[in-house]
Symmetry: none
Subunit: 194 residues, 4 copies
DNA sequence: TATGAATGAGGTTTCATTCAT
DNA sequence: CATGAATGAAACCTCATTCAT
């Protein structure tokens, strides 16, 4: 909960509290009243900065997508062999997903509650991300490093299923650190590709 | 939508329409009114058979869990080597998940909308299923067929993440049949374990 | 609650459970379902014997009124001086009210929930009872035993207010027995009349 | 009914119409829709000011209790002999009860429909009032002005029964004015105490 | 920028009653 | 005599959103 001493800008506070509440209770179960109360403002203030409750959700998505894409680009741009690049990216997406588990949880549970138009935008961005990832697998298949009897698309869906599901079981302070899970997942992915 | 010629018993019709609507629109976005209209009865009838909207969701879960557990037991009981048993089970869970994609979608999106008490029951049953699956991996690790440098639990979560996400991308009539996806997924799992 | 071994006739059991539940929760807060469950029968059975939920209430009233009127007549018919007759009646109405506190509670709280027609019937009977009681006071005023500077009607309303309120404070097993309260009340009434 | 020209604040109007309707039809028989229609607002407005229908009832109680307590304190604080103070208070409680007959009627008929927590609060306040009244009787018993063979508590219950029942028979414009009834009742009380 | 009163539509649930069996 | 499935109306309440200030 945001105290009266929270000096972050109001929109930032609203987004942050909305993220937490959506992840905890779901989008539909969270009322605008709860969000503004948690952020320490009134409804009018929220509607001053955001067009609707939907908008809040969209902004959360947009930030997650932007950050994930940036990270992927950073790792993909190195000169390493493709297997190492893929490993690094796979491990990193796990680590960063765990670091922002709330956002990912919302992403998966609330996507279909977005207005159709915004849903299209989000989906398109998501697809671009997947295609970038798939490109790396295909690159490895062409260089002969990865097996070619599995469609790259299936492997991508296989792997991102696992990633998206982290929110259902991963708990901070559990047996494995985020980095360890990332390494395990990346290793399982690479193993299955050889 | 159920027409006036649908002669199935009312509770069955209600469950079936509820499943479809929950999967399409989400639990919270689906009104009781929509469900009963689709089933061709009135609200009173629904509350005669089910204690609440929640109950409807719970009954859907209970059926899915029961059926999946039965299938696992059937495949696990054969005399095959553990790698073959695991492959068969992994492929089958994909096929049966695709065959009941609506139910699985609901499972993942609406679990947290269940009342706490019922959620506990469902989670306990789910855990039993996972543990049974994990036991097979551990068996393979003990016989030396599977690598031992990966915790069996991580592998289970990795694989079921992929399975649970089928609903997000698999479309009937697409490039791959359910069986093909099942074989691919099972193969990826087994490959990553060797 | 009525057990399966309750061999009283069904209508009697229904009335008895209804009385208890109405007194505990109020007429509107008690559902037909609760009543029939407590009586160990189904709704159909209730509607076989009683025309409506209202009817149950009416039957309860009718019994109370009949019994109270009978008692008053019995005491009024003696040859005692009027002060003694009035004392006996006043004390007795307290004792019998306490003995049937549930019925009286219902009477006061639920009268206005009766259908207009039945309400008229009940009110008329009630008025007759009050007039009979008032007659005794007037008799005492005419013989000079009671003061004449108080309208008999006011005294009746004064006294029956106190009687009807027994349900709000009297508790079985408290400091005073029903008879003691009856004697006190009758004594207060007679004192105030001299 | 409140017309569009009623310029009192919305909460005041809601309370006033609710009081009237509860007294006329009972709490359970009065719908929120009826109340807001009578007050000329929408349901949303009511729930903006009051947490629930229950709350409306509670606010009515709270006001009655507060006013009655204030009046009692005012009369009790004089230097008159105890008999005169008690007479004044007893007559006044009748007059003020008649002046707010709706509130009192609700008090008696609907108390048990209040939520348990609020009921406790109301009951505690009520008890304090009764104890204050009882204290006056005990004071008169100690000074020898009142008889001591009647427990003060019984006399209090006797008298307030009569007061609380005014709503069942007193009608504006009838034979007796509120003041006349008050004087009669107070006189009956004092007579019975000597 | 921000408030908070007010709207109006829609939500889940309850319930007295009916009726075919 | 009795059942219990089904109705349909109405109940209380929630909530995203608007707007005068």
């Amino acid at each position: 909960m945001t105290g009266p001493d929270d000096t972050r800008a109001v929109p930032r506070r609203l987004l942050s509290e909305a993220t937490r509440l959506f992840a905890e209770q779901g989008f539909d179960r969270t009322s605008v009243q709860e969000i503004v109360a948690a952020a320490g403002v009134t409804k009018g203030a929220m509607y001053h900065y955001f067009g609707s409750k939907d908008d809040l959700l969209y902004e959360i998505y947009a930030r997650v997508l932007r950050e994930q894409t940036e990270r992927l680009e950073k790792f993909a741009a190195t000169e390493e062999p493709v297997a190492r690049r893929l490993f690094a990216i796979a491990a990193d997406v796990v680590v960063s997903t765990i670091a922002n588990l709330d956002d990912t949880t919302i992403f998966l549970q609330s996507m279909h509650q977005l207005s159709p138009e915004k849903r299209r935008t989000v989906r398109a961005e998501r697809r671009r991300y997947h295609e970038r990832f798939r490109g790396l697998i295909e690159e490895g298949q062409q260089t002969g490093e990865f097996r070619t009897d599995k469609p790259a698309e299936v492997v991508v869906d296989f792997f991102f299923g696992a990633v998206h599901h982290l929110g259902y079981w991963y708990r901070e302070g559990g047996r494995l650190s985020a980095q360890e899970v990332g390494d395990h997942f990346a290793d399982l992915l690479l193993s299955s590709l050889r």
